[in-house]
């Protein structure tokens, strides 16, 4: 190598040491506060307007479920044909329906059935889907084939159509049912055909996580297969499922209303948004007294919107990369 004299602009240059004092190699920032992934996600969630909008909606709906008396003093079942289609009056915000019942009171009390179906169906779906998905993804082979093919079969059946068939059959067997029996039948019918979605997501997430090195490290430590699945794999595979769960909740509430609207969901004697919409359908043809339909319809749409928005906010918080910057 010959010693060429450096060209202009390429002379030997050494920056003064004061400008960039040497730091210790790979030094730990001692002052930083510890933050777990969930805590970080919660921090992002708190900064999201979407989260606050959806939370307010959901909280209001939940209060209506727990304490309907706070929103109305009228009895949703009290019916008097004298009040048929009466306009709004003191204490009766939107007036009366065909049966002479308070529209607003029925809508407030109807939240209970809708939310109960939504929450319970989501829980049952999650349990079914997570267990099958985690086992299928973790064990692979025959277990995977079995669970995956069965879930494929259920996946190919349209949710609403299948639920209609199942509930009609049960309706014929059990004609007189109380509130909770009816709710549970709808819940099981919906969950029975919705779990494959969660199974697939869980299976995919578990497949991804189980090949990561920390799982091998835990095995080498001596953790058994099931301990590994429970302690490391499932917790790290949860985020896509959590997002789906919030959206599923919305879908289940809509499905319950659709079933009741068709006259097969919850029986007529239970106050629910679907039943109110069902009894309002005749009015659509005449175009008169549409308020009877609008009030429960708006409540339904807003509730579902709340859950869908929450799902979106949670998805962004759990996976900040997906957000457009």
């Amino acid at each position: 190598m010959s010693e060429l004299t450096p060209r202009p602009g390429q002379e030997r240059f050494v920056a003064p040491i004061e400008e960039t004092p040497l730091r210790e190699i790979d030094v730990v920032d001692i002052d930083a506060a510890p933050e777990s992934q969930w805590k970080e996600a919660w921090k992002r969630l708190r900064g999201s307007p979407l989260f606050w909008v959806s939370s307010v909606i959901i909280v209001v709906v939940l209060i209506a479920v727990a304490f309907p008396g706070l929103f109305t003093s009228a009895d949703p079942r009290a019916a008097s044909l004298d009040n048929q289609f009466d306009p709004p009056s003191e204490g009766h915000l939107f007036g009366y329906n065909f049966q002479g019942q308070d529209i607003w009171a029925r809508t407030v009390y109807g939240a209970r059935a809708s939310v109960a179906v939504g929450v319970l169906a989501t829980l049952v779906t999650l349990v079914l889907g997570m267990v099958t998905g985690a086992l299928a993804g973790f064990y692979g082979g025959m277990v995977d084939t079995l669970f995956s093919r069965v879930s494929d079969i259920f996946f190919s059946i349209p949710l609403l159509l299948a639920a209609i068939v199942v509930i009609s059959v049960i309706n014929n067997l059990l004609p007189n049912r109380g509130f909770w029996t009816s709710v549970i039948i709808v819940v099981l019918a919906l969950a029975l055909f919705a779990w494959p979605q969660i199974t697939r997501q869980m299976r995919g997430a578990v497949l991804e996580v189980k090949n990561l090195e920390f799982v091998d490290a835990a095995t080498a430590i001596g953790a058994s297969k099931l301990t590994n699945l429970r302690r490391h794999i499932v917790p790290n595979a949860l985020s896509p499922v959590i997002v789906s769960a919030t959206i599923l909740l919305g879908i289940f509430i809509v499905s319950e209303s659709a079933l009741s609207f068709l006259g097969i969901g919850l029986p007529q004697n239970i106050v629910s948004w679907g039943n109110d919409l069902s009894s309002a359908q005749n009015l659509v043809r005449s175009g008169q007294h549409l308020v009877v339909m609008w009030v429960p319809a708006t409540a339904l749409a807003t509730t579902v919107l709340g859950f869908v928005l929450l799902g979106e906010a949670v998805r962004e918080a759990l996976d900040p990369k997906a957000r457009k910057s």
Partner: protein, 571 residues
Amino acid sequence: MSAEPTSTASTSAVPLLEIKDLRVGFKGEKKKILTAVDGASLTIYPGQTIAIVGESGSGKSTLAHAVIGLLPGSGHVMGGEILFEGTDINQGNRKQVMALRGSSIGLVPQDPNSNLNPLWKVGRQIKEALVANGVATGADADRRVVELLEEAGLPDAERRARQYPHEFSGGMRQRALIAMGLAARPKLLIADEPTSALDVTVQKQILDHLDTLTENLGIAVMLITHDLGLAAERADHLAVMYRGKIVESGPALDILRDPRHPYTQRLVAKAPSIASQRLSSLHERAEIRDRAVENAESTESGSEDILVVENLTKVFQLRGARPWQKIDFTAVDDVSFTLQRGSTTAIVGESGSGKSTVARMVLDLLPPTSGTIQFDGVDISSLKAKKDLLRMRRRMQPVFQNPYASLDPLYSIYQSIEEPLHTHDIGTRKEREAKVRDLLDKVSLPTTVMSRFPGELSGGQRQRVAVARALALDPEVVICDEAVSALDVLVQAQILELLNDLQAELGLAYLFITHDLAVVRQIGDNVLVMQEGRVVEHATVSEVFDNPREEYTRKLLEAIPGGSILLNEEV
């Protein structure tokens, strides 16, 4: 480099690219501006190769991206000038930079695996570069594509041009990207860590080829790298970056022989590619081994060979062309070696050589097809009782490659290190906490990290945690599967030192899996060189370095970047 005719120096006194006092910032949270490049100045002459050296986060890639106008997201130039052939391309509008991009300034990106569109044939992607820069169109362009690929050193270029990226190996993809970067015959080629994702031998081939190519075409190269040895070997002029500033620049050899800035001095002293050339590291290693063996003998009573592997073979069954067909793939073929207490056996090989498969079988994470693994005289496949298997696991612990995947992101550092103690039901809660504190101290981490999570630590710090976790059960053997490969050179040197110290102190035996022969001299005693599942050479470290018997070993040694320069100097 040295063959560069002095006449060009006088005729092309006009710089091709001049960067003056460039400052680049990123908008962070709460509108705070983070300065990534702070007052950098740099000059490149036509046909010259210069290198920018720095650790991750030093701002070297940001500097390169500013030149080609490809700063990501919230990045922007805050001050200074970028003069390309005398005109300030920073002040110019976007169109002007667009016009320069590709035609005058080419880019070879870092990761060959993510920089080709998987849905397009390789030829079409290069053709796109030709058409976009108005070099050629239609059938002309097709012909040119084949020429370019041949030029980049791809054999059978005509057929290759019609293939998809997934049919290419990593090295071939990087060659295709080089062909693309040179498609419009730019005057300046920016190569951003062009080979850090590739095996050392492939790296050497590609850089050699890039050297001759750019020299023949008279293209200037701006090489971005973290490896000082590699930079000094390839470039005439070096700029060392640290924390956003250029701390030292000048002729490459001058800097290597006489580093003046403390950071450069540190780099020259510690970078494994250079450090491994020194004889002193060999002596240091011998001392460590002696102490380790002594400590191991005083504490343990079993046989001297803690691990004996005989005729180990692993055959994987791959899916064939038809559903019922199976293809046998022999990943590990008849591998035998022994590991003695207090010593290190290194397994070296390129990706796909089967070295990690050996590690997984030794750890009993994967059953061998045939052959035996004896741990302290007991065949591990004979350990049927859960209790015996657990006891064996206690005595042999792994440290894995990827510091981002080897710790559960949901576990705090305390939970991660405490997990092995918890699993084996050792000690009370208090005792376990004391043990974790002690372990953190051993790997030189402050105890305040106990409540933190892996995501908040750097790669090197996470690897320390992984080492602490591995040591929690007081093992006799630690299996390091590429444990330092993903780290910056200085951090890598630091972890190697830590591993050496721990070995001497605790009398550990290491099975050290790596693709990088450079680090072996600092930590290894015996070396197994693996190629395509077979052991091609098995000897002591000094034998392998001084007197390699196999052609393949010699190739690996030559591929250590920077090897050629310093050896001359030390004689």
